[in-house]
């Protein structure tokens, strides 16, 4: 799958590309509006990551161009500005999501996956690995065709690890993902352990071999081929 990263900070765009490469995404980088517009005209992408403040203009121009060319790429805005006005403007122009800097790459990856799922497979989508099946439409989980009853948080956690599979996901990223805006108020990640313990127990009971591994108290990693 092809992703276009429109971002003038090379260090950042390279990080994103490196992280996403592990997921078999092909990333192209455009550092300014002009390059971005040329790329969009010439190629089709599955998802576009768009920084709004670019050296040669406003990134919203790119959104406008996409709309005019009736392209259906999923667009995620990554911006340092996070006022409600900025968000509304971006989303009104057809962006699918809005992520404020600084963000966790694992969060970005999860959002990209969600956008692609929504755009690509309009019907139901099932993510599968090692006998585990996640139906993202119905938000249900099956292990070897047997439904597993997970809480909302446990499901979110599983999906998050799944979309970032084979990579270490930091506990900060998990905490932020699970508690949304409320995360900023707490500094203790113990609640993740509780969710993780329950999730693992349920999956194990359903007969799934445990593929989720804690990495030195740094984070977690789901290892599936």
């Amino acid at each position: 799958m092809k992703i276009l990263i429109i971002e003038d900070e090379q260090a950042l765009s390279k990080s994103i590309a490196a992280y996403l490469a592990a997921e078999n995404y092909t990333c192209e980088i455009a550092a300014d509006c002009k390059t971005a517009l040329n790329r969009i005209e010439a190629f089709d992408y599955d998802c576009i990551l768009l920084d709004i403040s670019l050296p040669d203009g406003n990134g919203l121009q790119v959104l406008q161009a996409l709309k005019e060319n009736q392209k259906t790429e999923g667009v995620i805005i990554i911006s340092a500005r996070d006022s409600i006005d900025d968000r509304i403007k971006g989303l009104q122009l057809g962006a699918d999501d809005y992520l404020t800097k600084p963000f966790h790459l694992s969060e970005l990856s999860a959002r990209i996956a969600a956008v692609i799922r929504r755009r690509r497979f309009l019907g139901s989508t099932t993510l599968e690995a090692e006998g585990l099946a996640l139906d993202t439409q119905a938000r249900s989980v099956k292990v070897n065709q047997q439904p597993v009853d997970l809480t909302r948080k446990e499901y979110d956690l599983l999906l998050y690890l799944f979309t970032n599979r084979n990579r270490v996901v930091s506990k900060q990223a998990i905490a932020e993902h699970l508690s949304g805006d409320g995360e900023g108020l707490f500094d203790n990640y113990d609640f993740i352990y509780a969710h993780m313990k329950n999730l693992k127990k349920k999956l194990l009971q359903a007969g799934w071999k445990d593929h989720i591994r804690a990495v030195y108290g740094m984070g977690y990693k789901m290892e599936v081929p």
Partner: protein, 421 residues
């Protein structure tokens, strides 16, 4: 003391001194004039009388048309002295009234006999006149003084009016007001100058404030991209292999630090936004619903710390406000009560028709209420509490006219928001 009273005080002092000095001086001068006048008349009478008496051979008897009640002639021992003029109190032979008289005594020789001639003139009438004049003068001066005071007072009030107007405006002026300071034009040069100077001063401080605000805002925003790079590289570092436990521990600490920076950044931007009034959208928000929703969200943390939570919802408060800000406000208070609580501690949340109170156990001494709501004045050992939370609470309360207060009643720390609708 008012400037007005100060000037009046000096006028008054001067007037009193003048009155005290002028009235006696006036009295003395007037009396001298009167006495000089009387003396002149006595001498005139004497000069008129003497030639007539000297031609007589015997002194005229009493009751002679030459004499009246004021003139007496008596035989006396020879006397070479000069005439004498003096003032004396004596009883009038006719009216039997005691009075002050001016007397002229002269010795004349009639037919080789020495006689003493005494002419007197009553001063009573003159003294009455002087007294009336003095009383009149005092009254006049007093009326003049009172009139001056009154006129001065009303005039001063009128003249100083622009000054008081400026003062009122200055008092209500805040540097973060959206409107610049506008003072009325004054026709009086001094006030016009004062107003211009004050306006310039206000303008300068306003510009400095705006610049500082913009700096905080820009700095916060500019910090976000490097932060994003830092966080991204850290995540890539996590993926490297082989990764030792030692390296992982270092990366974890870095991740925690970058998380803290990100939060701090978010908090600063939120504060700036509140100060900039960038949350204009309002809608009716139910505080009870919001608080219950937040408590549900924090349930994992509450369970984690085994906190015993008591909730008393006496009456819901619905207030027209920005839901995001109310969520931040209540969220900060509730999260603080959880974060700074003891393991197995207590937390009491109470809502009445005009207050929202959060109480919690925690450290066993009161926090410093002066520093509590100020930026970065954290008092807990919890290194990751960012010290912006309560300032944000205060700013949101200020925005909506709520009053937030803190008290400590062993062992409970209490934060109370008073909501006046």
């Amino acid at each position: 003391m008012k400037l007005l009273n100060k000037t009046v005080q000096y006028y008054f002092l001067l007037s009193v001194v003048l009155l005290l000095v002028a009235v006696p001086v006036f009295y003395v001068v007037l009396k001298r004039i009167v006495i000089a006048n009387v003396d002149a008349r006595l001498i005139a009478t004497k000069t008129q009388l003497i030639p007539r008496l000297q031609v007589l051979e015997v002194p005229p008897p009493k009751g002679s048309p030459l004499f009246n009640n004021d003139i007496s002639l008596e035989r006396a021992v020879p006397h070479g002295g000069r005439d004498s003029l003096y003032t004396s109190d004596m009883v009038d032979s006719l009216s039997r009234h005691r009075g002050t008289y001016r007397l002229l005594t002269s010795h004349i020789v009639i037919n080789q006999e020495t006689y003493r001639l005494q002419i007197k003139s009553s001063l009573a009438n003159h003294e009455a006149l002087i007294t009336s004049i003095i009383i009149l003068q005092v009254l006049l001066l007093i009326f003049l003084l009172a009139g001056l005071l009154l006129i001065n007072r009303s005039l001063a009030r009128k003249v100083w009016n622009p000054f008081y107007k400026t003062l009122r405006k200055l008092r209500s002026y805040k540097v973060d007001d959206t409107e610049p300071l506008q003072l009325e034009r004054s026709g009086v040069n001094e006030f016009a100058e004062l107003n211009t100077a004050v306006e310039q001063l206000a303008d300068r401080s306003r510009k400095a404030y705006v610049a500082q605000k913009e700096f905080a805002e820009n700095a916060s925003h500019e910090m976000r991209t490097p932060l994003a790079i830092f966080q991204g590289k850290l995540e890539l570092l996590m993926q490297t292999s082989p990764l030792t436990e030692e390296q992982a521990a270092l990366i974890t600490d870095l991740a925690a630090a970058s998380q803290r920076m990100a939060r701090l950044n978010k908090g600063l931007i939120l504060l700036t936004r509140i100060q900039n009034g960038q949350f204009p959208e309002t809608e009716p928000v139910s505080l009870q619903k919001m608080a219950i929703h937040l408590l549900e969200q924090y349930q994992p943390q509450i369970e984690q710390k085994e906190i015993v939570l008591e909730q008393y919802w006496e009456q819901d408060i619905v207030i027209n406000s920005n839901p995001t800000l109310i969520e931040v406000l209540l969220g900060n208070l509730l999260a603080n009560a959880i974060r700074h609580n003891l393991k197995g501690g207590n937390m009491i949340v109470r809502m009445t028709d005009h207050t929202f109170t959060v109480q919690n156990t925690g450290q066993f001494y009161a926090l410093n209420p002066d520093r509590l709501f100020r930026r970065f004045s954290k008092s807990s050992a919890d290194a990751e509490s960012m010290g912006l939370g309560l300032e944000i609470v205060k700013k949101i309360c200020d925005l909506y006219g709520f009053e937030v207060s803190y008290s400590y009643d062993h062992p409970l720390h209490t934060f109370r928001i008073l909501i006046k609708s």
